[in-house]
């Protein structure tokens, strides 16, 4: 078993590598190809089932100088697409043979068309996840979408679409979600043993490593943290909500923790656990994957909330589940899904007397002083007054 420090170092190295060296190395072997996907939810099982490597594309953080990307986006559009275009135009994504664009928002939707224009020969697919939950309509639609994707990617990979391979991929990703759920549960129960700055890096590694390699890493990390003898500190327990697409800089996560907060639940890299239940391994694997989405997709800003009181209840439920003291709404600037949801989510939380603060960031934010002060004051006020100040 690898040591905890070695795991975190490896995860950090993968996180910092904007040239996707590990993906390139994987692709260097004869016949191997990789498919990228943007946030939030892409069915990675399908990519895996055709033998391709699923690669999460999460922008360039604060490390990527935007030279070409700004020429593609106005100042009032979030940062993620410009850094993704920068990655594309600088050749850093040349190892990808396909690219998936989930129906997260209109920016990512339109980015799919930009890709078609900029890379006409690359396979691109918009993953229009179902917003209708009935099996007869939404289920049929999503199964068909998955099948089209399977056939499209199989052609790119040069293999025959194989439902048995998909069954195996469903099983692998069930394990991936299980270990992620276990990591989240461990952090929730003993956050002093699993700082989010580390957990996040491990999960980011899962965005570029083959799932089998990620499973090993995640299990080793979980085992190492279980053996940790760190003691709890006097910190408040918070949920960080709204950071599901453009990812916060690692510095922001560290800042929140160092300002006296344990992050006990979050939306980071949400797509890797959007399905909250295992995909059944019997029956038709495509139907099983489609049906699991319909029945068990986590409520989030990318999906229509069918229950009239759903938005009102959601944060109170999450706070109860995580035994949190308060919520930090952290949304990327100009992010429609997060910012349009925020008033509804916050009103529900405040109606349940849950302390909340809100701020906006961008993936390339480099100054954290203001967040440190806000989070620090928030944590102090919860400690002193239970957040009612």
């Amino acid at each position: 078993m690898t040591s905890r420090a070695a795991i975190v170092d490896r995860a950090l190295a993968l996180y910092e590598d904007l040239d996707f060296g590990s993906v390139r190395a994987w692709c260097a072997e004869e016949g191997r190809k990789a498919a990228g996907y943007l946030p939030v939810y892409a069915p990675r099982e399908i990519i895996h089932a055709v033998g391709m490597l699923p690669v999460g594309i999460h922008g360039g953080r604060d490390r990527l100088e935007i030279i070409r990307g700004d020429a593609f986006f106005q100042s009032y559009i979030c940062h993620l697409p410009r850094s993704v275009i920068e990655l594309l135009q600088s050749g850093r994504l040349d190892m990808l043979s396909a690219m998936l664009f989930p129906s997260t928002c209109d920016v990512i939707r339109n980015l799919s068309g930009m890709w078609q224009v900029l890379r006409p020969n690359l396979y691109t697919r918009y993953c229009d996840v179902p917003q209708v939950l009935e099996a007869g309509t939404g289920g049929r639609f999503w199964r068909q979408e998955l099948e089209t994707l399977l056939h499209g990617l199989a052609e790119v990979a040069g293999v025959t679409p194989d439902v048995e391979a998909l069954r195996r991929s469903n099983a692998v990703y069930n394990e991936v979600r299980q270990v992620i759920r276990a990591l989240y549960a461990a952090r929730r129960d003993t956050p002093w043993r699993l700082p989010t700055e580390e957990l996040y890096l491990v999960l980011r590694a899962g965005e570029v490593l083959p799932p089998e390699a990620f499973l090993q890493m995640a299990r080793d990390y979980l085992a190492a943290t279980a053996a940790d003898d760190a003691r709890p500190r006097d910190r408040v327990r918070v949920i960080v909500a709204g950071a599901f697409c453009e990812q916060p800089p690692l510095g922001l996560i560290k800042t929140i923790e160092r300002a006296g907060c344990y992050i006990v639940d979050d939306d980071f890299l949400l797509g890797n656990r959007l399905l909250t239940a295992d995909v059944p391994l019997d029956g038709d694997p495509l139907s099983a994957l489609a049906d699991t989405f319909l029945r068990h997709a986590m409520p989030s800003s990318i999906l229509y909330e069918h229950a009239p009181d759903g938005k009102k209840r959601l944060m109170a439920q999450r706070v109860a589940d995580a035994r949190a003291d308060g919520i930090i709404f952290a949304a990327p600037s100009f992010c429609d899904p997060a910012l349009l949801d925020r008033p509804m989510l916050r009103a529900g939380a405040e109606a349940a007397d849950i302390p909340c603060i809100a701020f906006q960031y961008s993936e390339n934010t480099g100054q954290f002083q203001q967040f440190r002060e806000q989070a620090g004051t928030f944590s102090d006020s919860i400690k002193l007054w239970g957040g009612q100040a």
Partner: protein
């Protein structure tokens, strides 16, 4: 875009077109019925312009009400600043679609609509999720304000440049299995397919006339302004009147007026007067600014620029590429309609459309008005600009404003850009005629 009180510009107001009066009367009557709905018990269905199912709603005897139209009207009437401030005070971000904030602010300020009358509460929120992510959040937010049922229609995006047969079927299935039962429930009436066919026939007739009006801009001089002027023309068909006899009568009258202008060799009425001497023909992409609508238009007309085609006037349907509502396939045709609205088209389709417009309407240039509010339009517009330039060999112009937030309309900036652009077109013209002579 339904003008109502905001009938076009001051200069030539006196001899008001018959169509303008007709539209004004239709809208006044519609809002009168809406105001009285709580007493008359006419059911009210809130829905959006793109992918609106007006014929279906009306076949149940319900009245459609479109929050986007209210928002733009609030912008034109100078109310949006206050409404947006109200919404921001209530916790809405500065960074999101101002239509939503304007609507929420209007509700919080007493829900007085465009005609000064109180708007009724919805009996049903019909969320046609077509071409814009924000719609989903908008109706989730409205559902918090009103205790009424909501029904969701998911219209898949045309990412492959077409509405795939299975996507069409998905829309049909939802209309049949979800939307119709919801309408039956709130109106207490059964679905009447014959009635729907009749209304779809009216739509088709009106659409024929509307397309004739759009295509009249291929002439020189163009008898219409296909951006600023055309937002009035699309008012009835984008909102409550598609599928109604009043809608048919309006478009017949409008077409007759445009034909009369063609016969007289006359241009459209603009804020600078009747624009017969049209120096520049422009294609425009993006929604207009509503808070300084006439000022914005005047910047064009003062330069002798007429807009000959626009994409904004296709958000409620792309009829000029051949689509017509088809009474013989009522639910299928509604699905085709929803799928084909402009913002539901892929970026390459949008580029094709603009390049086609530039060529077919023999435009001298094209301009993008990028609005801060709207990712559905704005994300990708800089690439659209470059691609259309590449395809047509014509340089484009790019200006920025907002739909209804006056804080983001900088008249001096836009005017400067437009003037420089027109000067550049003029220089190109001289250059090319000199080149031609050489």
């Amino acid at each position: 875009m339904t003008p109502h009180e905001n009938v076009p510009p001051a200069p030539d107001r006196a001899p008001k077109d018959r169509s303008m009066q007709l539209q004004k009367d239709m809208i006044a009557e519609h809002f009168r019925r809406l105001e009285q709905a709580p007493e008359t018990h006419e059911p009210v269905v809130y829905t959006f312009v793109p992918g609106n199912l007006t014929e279906l709603v009306r076949s149940f005897g319900a009245l459609p009400l479109l929050p986007e139209i209210n928002a733009l009207q609030s912008g034109m009437r100078g109310m949006s600043r206050k409404y947006i401030a109200e919404a921001e005070k209530a916790g809405h971000s500065e960074d999101v679609c101002t239509y939503v904030k304007c609507d929420i602010g209007m509700i919080k300020s007493g829900n007085i609509g465009p005609t000064g009358t109180r708007l009724p509460k919805p009996d049903l929120l019909l969320l046609s999720y077509t071409g814009c992510y924000t719609f989903m959040k908008w109706f989730e937010l409205l559902r918090e304000e009103y205790d009424c049922p909501a029904v969701f229609l998911h219209v898949p995006y045309q990412s492959d440049g077409r509405l795939a047969p299975e996507h069409r079927q998905y829309i049909v299935d939802q209309i049949r299995d979800k939307v119709i039962p919801a309408l039956e429930q709130v109106t207490g009436r059964p679905y009447d397919e014959e009635k729907l066919r009749e209304l779809l026939g009216h739509s088709r007739d009106a659409e024929d006339d509307l397309v004739a009006v759009f295509e009249s801009a291929k002439r020189r001089p163009s008898p219409i302004d296909a951006y600023f002027g055309a937002v009035y023309y699309v008012g009835p068909i984008f909102s409550a009147f598609r599928g109604t006899p009043e809608g048919v009568a309006y478009y017949r009258a409008l077409r007759a007026e445009v034909e009369a202008r063609i016969a007289a060799g006359a241009g459209p009425i603009t804020p600078s007067g009747q624009l017969d001497d049209q120096k520049y023909r422009l294609v425009v992409e993006g929604p207009p600014n509503w808070t300084s609508f006439h000022e914005f238009w005047q910047m064009f007309s003062d330069e002798g620029a007429v807009c000959v085609a626009s994409t904004y006037t296709k958000v409620g349907g792309t009829y000029d590429f051949g689509f017509r509502h088809d009474p013989s396939d009522p639910l299928g045709t509604l699905a085709d309609y929803c799928g084909g609205c402009y913002t539901n088209l892929s970026l390459p389709q949008r580029i094709d459309m603009l390049a086609d417009y530039v060529r077919e309407y023999a435009a001298d240039g094209f301009l993008i008005n990028s609005v801060k509010s709207c990712n559905s339009f704005s994300a990708g517009q800089l690439l659209i600009l470059r691609e259309v330039e590449k395809r047509t060999g014509i340089p484009g112009a790019f200006v920025e404003s907002d739909l209804v937030d006056p804080r983001y309309f900088s008249a001096a900036n836009i005017k400067n850009r437009l003037e420089s652009y027109i000067q550049m077109l003029a220089a190109r013209r001289i250059g090319s005629s000199a080149g031609g002579a050489a």
